[in-house]
Symmetry: C2
Amino acid sequence: MEILALILGLIGFGVAVALYVKIKAEPAGNDLMVEISEAIHAGAMAFLNREYRILGIFVGAVFLLMLLSKMGYQTAFAFLGGAGCSMLCGFVGMKAATRANVRTSEAARSGGQAKALLVSYNGGAVMGLSVASLGLVGVGIAYALFGHDPVTAKYINGFAMGASSIALFARVGGGIYTKAADVGADLVGKVEAGIPEDDPRNPGVIADNVGDCVGDTAGMGADIFESYVGSIIATIAIAAAASPALLAQLGSGDNIQSMAMLLPLVLAMTGLVFSLCGIFSMRYLKERDPAEALRSTTLIAAGLFLVASLLVIWAMGISLGVFLAIVAGTLGGVAIGLVTEYYTAGGPVRRIALASKTGPATNIIHGLAVGLESCAVPVLIICVAILVANFCAGLYGIGIAAVGMLATVGVTMTVDGYGPIADNAGGITEMAGLGPQVREITDGLDALGNTTAAMGKGFAIGSAALTALALFSAYSTTVGLEAINLINPLTVVGLLIGGVLPFFIGALTMTSVGRAAGKMVEEIRRQFREIPGLLEGKEGVKPEPEKCVDISAKAALKEMILPGMTAVVAPVLVGFILGKEALGGMLAGATLAGVLLALMMSNGGGAWDNAKKYIEKGSLAGEKKGSDAHKAAVVGDTVGDPFKDTSGPAMNILIKLMSVIALVIAPLLI
Amino acid sequence: MEILALILGLIGFGVAVALYVKIKAEPAGNDLMVEISEAIHAGAMAFLNREYRILGIFVGAVFLLMLLSKMGYQTAFAFLGGAGCSMLCGFVGMKAATRANVRTSEAARSGGQAKALLVSYNGGAVMGLSVASLGLVGVGIAYALFGHDPVTAKYINGFAMGASSIALFARVGGGIYTKAADVGADLVGKVEAGIPEDDPRNPGVIADNVGDCVGDTAGMGADIFESYVGSIIATIAIAAAASPALLAQLGSGDNIQSMAMLLPLVLAMTGLVFSLCGIFSMRYLKERDPAEALRSTTLIAAGLFLVASLLVIWAMGISLGVFLAIVAGTLGGVAIGLVTEYYTAGGPVRRIALASKTGPATNIIHGLAVGLESCAVPVLIICVAILVANFCAGLYGIGIAAVGMLATVGVTMTVDGYGPIADNAGGITEMAGLGPQVREITDGLDALGNTTAAMGKGFAIGSAALTALALFSAYSTTVGLEAINLINPLTVVGLLIGGVLPFFIGALTMTSVGRAAGKMVEEIRRQFREIPGLLEGKEGVKPEPEKCVDISAKAALKEMILPGMTAVVAPVLVGFILGKEALGGMLAGATLAGVLLALMMSNGGGAWDNAKKYIEKGSLAGEKKGSDAHKAAVVGDTVGDPFKDTSGPAMNILIKLMSVIALVIAPLLI
């Protein structure tokens, strides 16, 4: 079966490469467009190279430490594999995004909306398919080597840890990069100089567009890759360490343990097949309303997957309860997406827009309140999913619910990857001056990308929460704890330390963005001041965008180290000093605080963003772009930027990374 | 011994009343001053009356429910007693504050700084002594009736629940009142109209001053009263349900259980005696630097208390480990206060001030980052205190550490109560036009009050955290759980629900303030527009402050219901539907998230406030009052207002209230 997983994975990756080649063959437009897109491409690739060099040192050091420890060289090599696959995903996805962006602009110019939608969607599909297929290949190989024996199955955990480690640095580094550029460019360009977004005179615009790629494409891809791999591996680990009572709940066959260990992999394969179906259905859906088309590709894949998974479970002789757990996970993911949509596009947005009338302070107060409020329902949905999954299939149910949520990641990640490409296309269209008609198409695709991005973030948080809980269950099963007892004050201390970490990392990343944006502001102000004729738009006068690109890159690479190392070192310290029960408490505390902060920051940030857009569209009576209320809303949007794109997403990875590290060091704590 | 507690408590309350009479005998200044202070007094008392009428209905309904339930009529009557004592504290403290404020102004005018310091300090002492002595009287009576038998000791818990219920409504209602008025008055007065703070032309100023009394005096008093009573009662409950192993750790005498049950009460008595010493030492310290004088009164009381508690423990035949737990609690409280001082007066404040140069958005980003960052060290301090206390005296140690932290509440609460009186005195001095010399004295006392308020908040959070953990331990001991097991998904669900509640209540209270402040803004704008000559300061033209007072009061009373009821109902629902273990998880989750949010909001808010003051003082090169950086800092200060004075403090009470309700319903869950 693993061979089949491997083959399927390779096919999936082959399709991704083929799509990439196809995209590159599309026309890239006129000289100016090529020049702009080359600048973005060069900036993004240069950043990735520098980032990967630093990560190479980190990965090498951890690899050596693992070799020296008692956890077995197998874990160390699995770690290398996970890190390598995650880096490859980021590389491929970024290549595709920086090629598809300008071709989307050109498609909008020469072919119209349907053509532009298809190009940007296919650009996202390269990322989506890479995530799904490389995950399958990696876990498949690890499973073939270690998965047949519950004793050696623990080595697979190293793969998840490799993926998680890269994810944290990529997400934090990318997040700081993109928001330093975005906040800096907006503060000077839009607020001070009063020129439009993406105006070619603004030296920060190229850095902003590079940031969209490194943050929203590579960062998001690494995040979801980690959830995908983590949920599969956690479920294998739970099955490998399952008690006889739990196994009896899962089915009655003699081989039920190996079937339960195999199921996550089979579901991932099924999900990949139907993700491909979903992705290819875009060819026939592209003429429709883009929002409907995007939604349909996801729903087609999810629906077919659910039907097929029922057949798979029946064929493997596994209890129907497991199927219900999968349904709980899948529906939970959808429900969280809908709640996210409400908070970032519904009534709360109008509330924030209205509060902007009394100035930036009330805009911020209401935005923070919306963020805080938006945690309630998604957490209750996660609670219901846990209760159902646990009732139907015990701890295994929680793991398999996460797998179910993430199985069709090929297509959900495609939709996520589409967003930054459409955003970039909008920027290129503006900078190259392709005119209002083309701009209207790319603006429409871009606005849609904002909604898919917000829903994608909700999905990422929901899946991260379930994955973290699955990893937590895997940890407690693997480490052989009967109880992680909150009456024990050591567990409470672990809980408190775990809970404070997301706040601390949130503080570090917010400060980093604030500091880097400050430098960016100074540099852009300097160029407007010192380059004669730049701000006036004199013919032939060009800004120096590479200096802004360099500021963002340097800040991102420097500032990602401390939060990244904190997340890696903290669980190891607590585990070895305070013990395995305190480490369990720590994971629970970190997951709780991390999920809450992630929801608050992502939804608050999204709502602020859309409240500003709401006023810009003229939907708030008496207000328009440039009015006092709009200026207040721009303040909220700027605060929301690091919330939703830096600190919030870092939480997802933090909680998974800490859990997976605990799982990997578990054998040393017994 | 309880008789002695009763007598001591009555003596303490007698001293409070005597101080009040003495304050009233002080001269109240000229007619204008009397008029202004009467308006504040009338507004505050009218609000308290309306609030208490609503709370009367709530208390009556809960009392009836308790009578009908199986928890025993004794619990119901203890509940009434706790609620009554808390309300009486609020009433007495408010009376004293609204009399001492104008007399502080007058003392500053006619007698100078030392005299003004003594009057405002004594005003605070009425509140401080009321809290300490009424707590002692109430718990003393309850102990005399039920404390001699570990079986009936559970009835005492009702007293803590009564105190907690009142505290939540008082804190939330008072917090909404004060910030709606403050934010509204500042937004129109300082930002739009450009008139100074506390300018008599501003119709919102009286409401703002009333708010200082109802929020910072009555609200803070109810908060600390709850911690004080809660920590004593939790420790009694832990001792009453202690295992033989725990008792053996506490001492070797035959009567060790009754001694352990009695100790919290004896410590409270000791603390009250030395609080009186501390308070009276102000007579001899008043000529010194006010900051030093305030600090000295606290240190005198705490030092003498520690020495005496060592003797008490030795005399009662209790193990020295218990003394070390008390030391851990006391030092922990001091350390948290110092960290709070750093974050609200040190480097982070300069960081925020500097970030104001690039506008309100970066000011907010850095302020939020400071708030998030400020959680780390206090939580680690709490962890160390837990580890030490638990090592020295088991779960009992955690309870007694909280008692140690709170024993000298008479004097710490005096210093807290001093703050709003000095603040009010500053307002009255400005409104009555007493001139720059007097203003300098009251401004100095007011600024000092800001620092004591920030440190008091840190202390309130630290003590709330320890009290909540003590109550949590008492709950798990009483309900007879061997483990609150995080591997059980039901516990995880409880943890998640508990964690989301502080976020939800934070959202409700922030929204309430935003909404009420919006109404206040409209009313003040209307008066400036419609009352001819008001803004120009024409002779004889007066604003209509009573309309603003009414808006604040109505909003506060309406908006306090939902958060209050949520906190009361949630633990009952979870306990009866999901069971006692899930309820334990819920308490842990609520405590974790509540402490983190409380720290973030209080410290972030304090730092924003002082960053604004830092710029106003001219400490940021090139910036001054009215500059763009200052305007940006005012936005941050306005956002920080509901953070530090409404939502943040509500968290303290929320976590204690939920724990105490769990403790009270524990017998029904067994």
